[in-house]
Subunit: 343 residues, 2 copies
């Protein structure tokens, strides 16, 4: 079974993922950044039996489970970093901490079409993907062992995608991730001092300055953040305060789908189909729990869900890993101008 281990010096968690174990000589077996053979892909119609059974699917009402005909399909990852089964044990080992690898690792198959990246999908199809995200988040919240579910999409091998077929993933963990925890703490501190949401403040300031806003839709602001870690890093922020993606309305998701279609198309033409990550930041499960009493007392007021889009066209190399600094050769003000002017 996998386990979570805490590094007492770096204060970071690692998932030691024994189900994904390799022997040394296997590390060089890299997947090429190519579509692969059509028909052999486990994410196509007719190959449903080659994946774990489906957890959720959108399609015709009379379709049998695990049969073709679906539009979006969610299954467990075949080589999961964490599993739903098992008891959530926590133990100390000398100066170390160890937690059982209980959680979830799911794959959201975004379309039956192998060659249809999100930038080419119908807006309605992207909307189905977003609804699947929302439904899985809401469902996993019911498991009291799970403290956070992170939804993300890796596009391109250099961004970590090992299968070409368009898909996103969900990893649910028994510990709130440090990056999320850091953001929650900062948002809460800001709210306690000012009784205002830090993201709402950011939106107001950036709208007034204008230079880093790519554009705004009915519900979203597309912002190149002031200290962007990567060229063309973009935040998709709901214009009105909302803490929880699982509570996003249908019209909000419909607008987000249209925004994503337009944005991903512009990025693909500007940057020649770059590898990228797309990451959902939302509030954690609202269960009151030992050790985390402060996270939900004001969470509806102080957190603000958003999507982070991260193109992987520069490297996280020795300096970046060792320092925590990023080096970004493209000022976000320039990136915003390119995005505004892109066809």
């Amino acid at each position: 079974m996998s386990e979570l281990r805490f590094d007492p010096i770096r204060r970071r968690w690692t998932i030691i993922a024994t189900e994904r174990r390799f022997r040394p000589h296997e590390f060089r077996r890299r997947e090429p950044d190519e579509p692969g053979e059509l028909g052999a892909c486990p994410f196509e119609w007719g190959n449903e039996e080659t994946t774990p059974p489906e957890i959720l699917a959108f399609g015709p009402a009379d379709r049998p489970r695990n049969a073709p005909g679906w539009q979006v399909r969610v299954v467990a990852n075949k080589f999961p970093a964490l599993r739903v089964e098992g008891e959530l044990t926590r133990e100390g080992v000398g100066i170390f901490d160890r937690v059982a690898g209980v959680g979830a690792h799911e794959v959201i198959i975004e379309t039956p079409e192998h060659m249809r990246p999100m930038a080419d999908m119908e807006v309605g199809q992207i909307e189905l993907v977003l609804r699947a995200w929302r439904e899985r988040l809401a469902d996993l919240r019911r498991d009291p062992r799970i403290r956070y579910a992170l939804i993300f999409k890796n596009h391109g091998r250099e961004a970590g995608a090992s299968l070409y077929h368009p898909h996103s993933q969900l990893i649910a963990t028994p510990i709130v991730p440090v990056v999320v925890k850091g953001e929650l703490e900062i948002a809460r501190d800001h709210w306690r001092r000012k009784e205002r949401c830090i993201f709402c403040d950011l939106i107001l300031q950036e709208r007034a300055l204008g230079e880093r806003v790519a554009w705004e839709s009915e519900h979203f602001m597309l912002l190149e953040p002031f200290a962007a870690s990567f060229p063309f890093e973009t935040w998709l922020l709901p214009r009105r305060h909302q803490h929880d993606f699982a509570a996003a309305s249908d019209p909000t998701l419909a607008d987000l789908a249209a925004v994503l279609r337009s944005f991903l198309g512009r990025v693909r033409s500007l940057l020649s189909d770059p590898p990228f990550n797309l990451i959902l930041h939302t509030s954690p499960s609202p269960h009151p729990r030992a050790g985390l009493p402060e996270y939900w007392t004001t969470i509806e007021l102080d957190y603000h869900w958003h999507l982070e889009f991260v193109p992987r066209i520069t490297h996280i190399a020795g300096f970046e890993w060792g320092s925590g600094y990023s080096i970004n050769p493209t000022p976000p003000e320039e990136a915003a101008r390119y995005l505004r002017e892109a066809p």
Copy 2:
């Protein structure tokens, strides 16, 4: 001029490196992971005029500056992230912070031989590289604008190397990097509570347990850390307490050179010449300064310099970037066994 920008929500710094600026269509111009044309490399004998002037070189006493004959040569990076020239200004911009990009960005050319990676160098040559690191660190400490100098090596394109010729780099910043600051704070907290160094405690515990120690030399322990972020991540720790690489003795560096040669050779054969980063963690400049009064009051007692070796055979993908978790498919206990048994 470059600038450092602080993200108030993520509490991370980015260097907006305008001297390395690209236009969007240029991002796909990737360097291949191949040696390139011999003789055209700016890091070879005879091409000294194609780099900025040398800052330091080891070679025959009668060699003119910037002429062939050197064994190790240090020059400024031609496209620096930060520059030594300029005034160190700090300003607030609404909720943001901005600091002028004053610092240093140097390249340590480790050998005149284009095709001689560190795993194939003579031990004496590696020792010269380590002496160059030590000398550059000691020299940059004299500049009161500089708070930290980070030395690192990127090997292979996927680890961020853009030139094949063996080299390491130094980036000196006017802000202590968050990763370093975090380690310093944790080490100091431990010392205040226990009056012991946390790294010395780690060494004692790991020696007693044995299962994660690859081996020990006269001066160093090679440890697979309990919560290793990457398969075969390895820490090279001085066995006796030393806070500052710039004060390391000649025998210590000689032993480290021999350890590196043996270790890098084993890793290359086990993992088929993986891309990797090698990162020096050492104490910051000892100048007392505003805002950082606590870092040097006990620094000689609580910090412990070391090298981190990070093979880049798994990806920092959407989950890792968005959560701060790592997913490591190789338990460090197994990695230690493979390293011990490697030829």
